[in-house]
C-alpha cells in the first residue's frame, strides 16, 4: 500500500517535473526542474531495490551533470527567446518522432508481456542477503580488479592528456607564494618615521 503510494508520488512528480523542464520560461528554472526529476527518478530506483543506481543518479547526474548544465546556462549568453521561436513550426515533427518512439516502446513492452519465457530472462538470480552495492563492490574489487586498475590508468592518461594539451604558462599572472609571505618582515613594508608634533609629514 505504502509502496504503491510512494510509487505514484515519485512517478507523478517525475512526469510533472519533466514537463516543466521543457515548458519553463527561464532556462535556470528548467535545470532546477531537471534536478527535481532526477531526485524523483532516484526514488523510483530505490523502490525497485536498485539503491546503487539511485545513489549514482543523485551523485553523478545531480551532483555533476546538472551543476554543469547550470554553469553552462548561466555563463553562455544564449538568447532563449530566439531558440523558442520555431516551437510551433516544429511541433508536428516533434510529435511524430515522439509517437514513433512511443509505438516502439509499446511493441517492446507487448512482446515482453506476451512472451512465454520472458520471466526467466528478466534478471540474474540475486544473491541472498547482499545489497547490490555490496555485490558490485565485491565483484569490482576482486574479480575485476585487473580492469578496475586499468580504468584508473585510463583516467591518469586522460588527466595527463588534458594538461599537456591545454596547460600553458602565462605571463603577467600574480601567484601567491606562501613561503615568501611568511618570511616577510615588518621592516620590508613599513617604515618608522619620527614625526615632529604639529608639523606632519
Amino acid at each position: 500500500m505504502i509502496q504503491a503510494l510512494a510509487f505514484y508520488l515519485f512517478a507523478s512528480i517525475t512526469v510533472i517535473a519533466g514537463m516543466m523542464v521543457i515548458s519553463a520560461k527561464n532556462p535556470v528554472h528548467s535545470v532546477l526542474w531537471l534536478i527535481l526529476a532526477f531526485f524523483n527518478a532516484a526514488g523510483l530506483f530505490v523502490l525497485l531495490g536498485a539503491e546503487f543506481l539511485a545513489m549514482i543518479l543523485v551523485i553523478v547526474y545531480v551532483g555533476a551533470v546538472a551543476v554543469l548544465f547550470l554553469f553552462v546556462v548561466m555563463m553562455l549568453d544564449i538568447n532563449f527567446e530566439e531558440l523558442r521561436k520555431g516551437f510551433y513550426t516544429y511541433l508536428p515533427f516533434g510529435l511524430l518522432v515522439g509517437a514513433v518512439l512511443l509505438g516502439e516502446l509499446a511493441i517492446v513492452g507487448l512482446g515482453w508481456v506476451t512472451s512465454d519465457h520472458a520471466a526467466s530472462l528478466s534478471r540474474m538470480p540475486a544473491p541472498a542477503n547482499v545489497t547490490n552495492t555490496q555485490a558490485l563492490g565485491q565483484i569490482l574489487y576482486t574479480k575485476y580488479v585487473y580492469v578496475f586498475q586499468a580504468s584508473g590508468l585510463i583516467l591518469l592518461t586522460a588527466m595527463i592528456g588534458a594538461i599537456v594539451l591545454t596547460h600553458r604558462t602565462r605571463g603577467g599572472v600574480r601567484k601567491q607564494n606562501i613561503g615568501e609571505q611568511n618570511m616577510r618582515q615588518p621592516s620590508d613594508a613599513t617604515a618608522l618615521v619620527h614625526v615632529q608634533s604639529g608639523e606632519g609629514l
Binding site: 586499468a150 590508468l153 585510463i154 586522460a158 595527463i160 599537456v164 594539451l165
Partner: protein, 489 residues
C-alpha cells in the same frame, strides 16, 4: 584458483610499465620540460626491465585475474616486439621535439602508458579487457598526435583521430554487447566453447553481427580498407616521431589483438570470419598500392604503404594455420623495423629546423648525403619486397602459406597480393629515382643527432641481407608463438 602472488607475477611486465610511467611522471613534474632527454632514456631502461620480465615468464599458457588476462607464447613474442618499437620511438623523438620547442616531458610518459595498453591488448582474454586496454592505448595516442598543439595540422590530426577512434570504439562496444547478449559470456575461452557448439547449425545471426562489429572496430585500429580514412591525414599531420610510433607499435598490438579475438574467442567461427578478413585484405592491398601512386607528401605515401602492408599481413590471418600465423608474426617484426627505419629517414629530412615532407626535395640526395640515400634506398626496396632484402622474406612466407593452403579464393588472393606489390613497387622506385637521378635540391641540415644515425644504421643492417642471421631465430620464435595461439584452439 590461482594465488594472488601468481597473478601479480604474470602481469609483472604491465605493472613495470605502469609504475614506470608514474615514476617518470614524478621525475618530470619536479625537473620540468628540460628532463625530456633524461626521461626518454629512463623509459628505455623501463622497457628493458619489462622485456626481461617477459622473458622470464613461463612459456605455457597461463591465465590470471579470473581469466581476464592470459600470457602465452604469442603474447610474449608480441610484447617484446612492442617494447622494442616503443623504446626506439621514445629516443628518436628527442632532437625533433627539442628543435621545435614541443619538448614536453610527458612525451615518453604517454608512449609508456600507450605501451601499457598495448601490452594488455595482446594479453586480453576477455571482451572487457579488450575494450579497456584498447582505450588506454588509444587515449594516449590521441594526445600524442596533437602534441604539437600550436600547429593546426597536428591538432587537426589529433581531433580527427579522436573522433574516428571514438566511432570505432562505439562499433566495437556495440559488437561486444551483442556477442555477450547472445553468447552469455565475455570470456574468450567461454566464447570459444559456446560458439563452437553452434558449428553444426549456422551460428545465431546476432553473434555474427556482434563478431563483425568487433572485427570492424579492430580493423579501424589496424587501418584496413575500408576503415582506413583517418590514416593518411593523421600520419601527415602528426609530428614525424609520433607518426613513426603510430605506424609501428600500435599496428603490431592491434594485429595481435585481432589474432587473439579471431582465434581465441571466435575460433569456432573461422569459416565465417575468413571471408571478411580476405575482403579486408584484398581491398587494403589494392588501395595501398594504387592510392600511393599520386602522392607527393612522403608521410602520406608511407601511410598508404602501411595500409597495403596490413593487407599482406591479413592474408596470413585469413589462412589461419601454424605456418601462416608464424608468417604474420615475422611480417609484423620486419614491418615494424622497416617502418621505423623509413621514418628515421624522413626525420633526417630537415632544412633550417623544418620538417621537409615533399618528395621532390629528396632530389640528388645520392650526391648530397650518399649514406642516407643508400639507407633509404635499401629500406624502400625492402618495403617493396625486393629480394634479397628482409621485406621479401616477409612477403614470401605469407604468400607461401596462402598457396599451400590451396583453394581458389586463397590462391587468387595471393596472386592479387603479388600483383599489387608490383604496382606498389612503382612508387617506391619513384622515390629512389628522385634520390639518385633527379637534379639536386637544397641541402638538408647536417645530421647532428648520433642516436638517430646509430638506430638508422642498425635497422638498415637488419633489413639488408645481413638480417638473414636473425631470420632463423625469428622463424623459430614465431613458430613457437603461432603454436601457442592455434594449438590452444
Amino acid at each position: 584458483m590461482e594465488s594472488f602472488g601468481q597473478n601479480i607475477f604474470l602481469v609483472h611486465p604491465e605493472i613495470t610499465l605502469a609504475v614506470g610511467a608514474m615514476l617518470l611522471l614524478m621525475i618530470g613534474v619536479f625537473r620540468g620540460d628540460g628532463a625530456l632527454k633524461l626521461l626518454s632514456w629512463i623509459a628505455v631502461a623501463v622497457y628493458g626491465v619489462a622485456a626481461v620480465f617477459v622473458t622470464i615468464l613461463p612459456a605455457d599458457r597461463l591465465t590470471a585475474f579470473n581469466d581476464l588476462f592470459v600470457t602465452d607464447g604469442t603474447a610474449r613474442f608480441l610484447k617484446l616486439v612492442i617494447y622494442t618499437a616503443s623504446a626506439i620511438s621514445s629516443v628518436i623523438a628527442i632532437a625533433y621535439l627539442q628543435r621545435r620547442n614541443i619538448n614536453r616531458f610527458e612525451y615518453p610518459i604517454l608512449i609508456m602508458l600507450a605501451t601499457t595498453g598495448m601490452s594488455m591488448m595482446v594479453s586480453a582474454n576477455d571482451l572487457i579487457t579488450l575494450y579497456v586496454s584498447l582505450e588506454l592505448q588509444s587515449l594516449a595516442l590521441y594526445v600524442l598526435a596533437s602534441i604539437h598543439r600550436d600547429n593546426a595540422k597536428s591538432t587537426e590530426a589529433g581531433l580527427k583521430y579522436f573522433v574516428l577512434g571514438a566511432l570505432s570504439s562505439g562499433l566495437l562496444l556495440y559488437g561486444c554487447s551483442l556477442v555477450y547478449g547472445f553468447a552469455g559470456t565475455t570470456n574468450f575461452e567461454g566464447l570459444r566453447t559456446v560458439l563452437h557448439a553452434t558449428l553444426e547449425q549456422p551460428p545465431v545471426i546476432g553473434v555474427l553481427f556482434g563478431m563483425i562489429f568487433v572485427i570492424v572496430g579492430i580493423a579501424f585500429k589496424i587501418s584496413a580498407v575500408p576503415f582506413h580514412m583517418w590514416t593518411p591525414d593523421v600520419y601527415e599531420g602528426s609530428p614525424t616521431p609520433v607518426t613513426a610510433f603510430l605506424a609501428s607499435a600500435p599496428k603490431v598490438a592491434a594485429m595481435g589483438l585481432m589474432l587473439r579475438v579471431l582465434f581465441d574467442a571466435f575460433g569456432g567461427l573461422s569459416e565465417q570470419w575468413r571471408q571478411i578478413i580476405m575482403i579486408l585484405s584484398a581491398l587494403s592491398m589494392g588501395l595501398g598500392a594504387v592510392a600511393a601512386l599520386g602522392q607527393t607528401d612522403i608521410k602520406r605515401l608511407l601511410a598508404y604503404s602501411s595500409i597495403g602492408h596490413i593487407g599482406y599481413a591479413l592474408i596470413g590471418v585469413a589462412v589461419g594455420n601454424h605456418e601462416s600465423i608464424s608468417a604474420v608474426l615475422i611480417y609484423l617484426v620486419i614491418y615494424m623495423f622497416t617502418t621505423l627505419a623509413s621514418f628515421l629517414c624522413v626525420l633526417a629530412m630537415q632544412r633550417n629546423g623544418d620538417q621537409i615532407e615533399d618528395m621532390s626535395e629528396l632530389g640528388g640526395l645520392a650526391v648530397r648525403q650518399p649514406k642516407l640515400a643508400l639507407a633509404f634506398t635499401l629500406i624502400l626496396f625492402s618495403l617493396a619486397g625486393v629480394p634479397p632484402l628482409m621485406g621479401f622474406w616477409a612477403k614470401f612466407y605469407i604468400f607461401k602459406s596462402a598457396i599451400e593452403f590451396g583453394g581458389l579464393p586463397m590462391t587468387l588472393l595471393a596472386v592479387w597480393g603479388v600483383l599489387t606489390s608490383v604496382i606498389a613497387t612503382a612508387y617506391y622506385l619513384r622515390i629512389i629515382k628522385i634520390m639518385w637521378f633527379d637534379k639536386s635540391s637544397q641541402d638538408f641540415d647536417k645530421p647532428d643527432y648520433l642516436v638517430n644515425d646509430v638506430l638508422l644504421t642498425a635497422t638498415t643492417l637488419f633489413v639488408s641481407p645481413l638480417g638473414w642471421i636473425f631470420l632463423g631465430p625469428l622463424q623459430a620464435a614465431a613458430m613457437l608463438a603461432a603454436r601457442a595461439l592455434i594449438g590452444s584452439a
